[in-house]
Structure formats: C-alpha cells, structure tokens
Homo-oligomer: 226 residues x 2
C-alpha cells in the first residue's frame, strides 16, 4: 500500500477529476488514484458517495470529500495550499466565478455532450452518437474558446496576473476536448498560447497521462508544439 | 437609495437566489434586491456578469460575486458569517457535499425541469409544457425527498446536529417545488418535519415572500401547518 495521505477515486476524461488532480499536483499534495468505473455502480463506492459520482477524495483519517467543490475548498485547509487562490476578496471572487463558469456552463454545454457521445456511450454498449448533441457541443466549444481568447487579450492568466485555480478548471475541460482532437486551435491563438503555458507545467502531466485504454488521444495531445 | 452594503441581482423562483437570500438573512447581512429578468438579456447586466445569470451580488465597493459558489464562500470572509459552516474539516466537507448535491443534481434532475416547464416558458412566450420533462422532474423529486427523509431519520438537520448551509440549499429547491404544489408531503413525513422547522425561521421569510406576479403559489405555500 502506498503511504499517500489521500486516496482519489476518479475515472478517465473526467474534467472534475482532472481539475482536482492537477491542483493537488501543483500544491505538491501526494495522493494515490483508484479508478472507479461509476457506470458499474459498485455498492461499496455508493457507501462512500451515495451520489455515485467522482471525484471523491478520502483522507488517511477517513474524512470523505465528494465532488470538486468540497475537495478544492478543503485543500485550502491544508498547509500546502494557498498559491492558487488569491488573498483579496475581489480576486478570489473572480477565480470562483471562472471555476463555476467552466465546471458548470462549459460542462453542460460542451464537455458533457462530447464526452457522452464520443466516449462514455461505448461503456454503456450504446454506439450511436447523437449527431445534434455533437453539433451543439462543437458549436458551444467555440464560444468557450472565444471567451478564453477574450480574457487572454487582457490578462496573463485567466483570472488575472497570477496562475490560479481558474486556469486548472478551464484546462481540465479544454484538455478533454483536445484529447478527442476537437479544438480548432488555428482560430484561437491567445487561447492556444495560454494552453501551451499551462500544459508545460509539471503539474499538468497527470492530465496528459490520463488516457482511456480503448480510446487513445489524438497524436498531438501531449505535445507542447501542437 | 438604500444604504445596504450589498445589492443582489435575482429573479423569482431561482433556487440559487433563494439559497443566497436566506443565508444572508440568517447571517443578518443586509442587502437590497434588484429583479433581473435574465431572459431579457439586458446589456448593462452582461457587463456585470458575462454569463447573464443570477444570483449576482455587488458590494458597496463594487466587488462582484457571481453565482452561489462565489457568493456563499465570500460571505465567510465577512465578520457576520460563520455559524452555518461548521469548523471541523469533516463536517465542512459534509455540508459542501450536500450543497453540491442540491445545487447541481437536484437542480438538473428536478427543479430545472419543473420550473422551465411550468413557469419560465411563459416568459419566453412558449406555453406548451413538455410532458416527459414534467414526468421526469416529478419522479426525480421523490428520490430527492426520499433522501431528505433518509437523512432526517438519522440527524437533526441535513448535515448533522446543527443547522447549516446545506439546509438552506435544500430548502431553496424544496420551496420552489412547494410553491408549485408538487411536493407529496403525505409520503415524506421526516422531510416534512424538517421543512416545517426550516420554514418557521425568520430568515426563511424572504423565500416565502418571493412570488411571481402572474403565477401565484398554492394556498398552503407560506403556511406553517400544511
């Protein structure tokens, strides 16, 4: 058994899991990963999280943190945390606004459509992607990339001058779309520059190494020159 | 002009707005409300929140807090806050797990279906409720009430012995369903007892007073004996 203080239940290509993994890596908080195939509805896992969803983080003491909201906020009670959440009330609010934007509206309008249709349907033995869901996801993806572009014309990182939790929340989503080869980088130069900088951080490696056995990423996925 | 330190942009029957309003009332933090009809896509409002959603809280200094996540967490940086978020890491995690449960899965599976079909479609001049969306919402509502019942057999309040943010998050959703007369209280006694206790708090009055001009609540809505 590893002696990591934390166990993270996750599954592949989950933006919320990727967000948590990258933030824990950036903070240098060690954790061991346990792959939880949530669609198999494992009874023991439902005892930990009755919603049956990931990410779930369990501490060595047995404290349970369900979903990114409880996990990310709890990390700020650990001594390692801090640098990704600014101190001023105004800056903190901007970071949380952007986390919420990506973890809810980008998730609902883009990532969820594309991941369901292109990846998770096969685990449910349903292989017929819904064309209108795919189209909606791809159209909405351009809106979100456009918003990253817009912010990047004004700021060095998404929420301001400093790298923050918001960059990892957005990067978690963009990385899933990039895995599937869906990001039209040529049309979003500033977003591409931002993603290149994020991707080159050692903490982002855990995201680039998160692959689905039967669905390999496009060839440029882990490249820094893409 | 009121001298309230905060302005809250809200609209009727929004669970997220109700959650914020009740928590601010419980903490005794004064605010003035501004009704924002988000479906009218008012330009000036998009300058405050580019997502065009409510709740949005603006402080006297001009700091902007978008959506319940940024608002609720920011309230804990004010001197009045504290009593609704426990101190221990484990208890805090349980409160946030339940907030997330109600604000995302209950919202997606129940409240959003029923409010869209029964209320908001009329503001978009579309008066044909989708029967299968209504059915799904009503079926899922029983699951959520059942979960409240299950917790209430074991605890005094949703997250444990103490009243917490989780009760207001759940109450915000239940109150919207109750407004429309959709809660089968006779089948969920423990949930009913919990809701009666919550409803009788002075801080819950702001929720009971939140009415839509053209869609009055059912007659038992504000009654403590229902």
């Amino acid at each position: 058994m590893s002696e990591s203080p934390f166990t993270l239940y996750y599954h592949w290509l989950s933006p919320a899991c990727r967000f948590v993994m990258a933030v824990m890596s950036e903070y240098g908080i060690p954790y061991q990963k346990v792959l939880e195939k949530t669609w198999e509805r494992r009874k023991k896992f439902y005892q930990i999280n009755p919603a049956g969803t990931v990410p779930v983080l369990v501490s060595a003491k047995g404290d349970v943190f369900v979903e990114w909201y409880a996990i990310i906020e709890a990390l700020h009670d650990t001594p390692q945390a801090g640098s990704l959440l600014p101190l001023s009330v105004r800056d903190k609010a901007e970071v949380r606004r952007l986390i919420f934007w990506f973890m809810t509206s980008c998730d609902r309008d883009v990532t969820d459509y594309l991941l369901q249709e292109k990846v998770f349907k096969r685990f449910l033995r349903d292989n017929t992607p819904n064309a209108s869901a795919l189209r909606a996801g791809l159209t909405n993806l351009r809106t979100h990339l456009g918003y990253i572009d817009f912010l990047m014309e004004r700021r060095h990182w998404l929420a301001g001058d400093q790298l923050s939790l918001a960059d990892f929340a957005a990067g978690a989503h963009v990385s899933c779309m990039d895995y599937l080869g869906h990001v039209p980088w040529q049309d979003f130069n500033d977003a591409k520059d931002w993603y290149t900088r994020l991707k080159s951080r050692p903490s982002f490696r855990c995201i680039l190494e998160d692959t689905v056995p039967s669905v390999p990423p496009v060839s440029s996925y882990a490249a820094l020159d893409f």
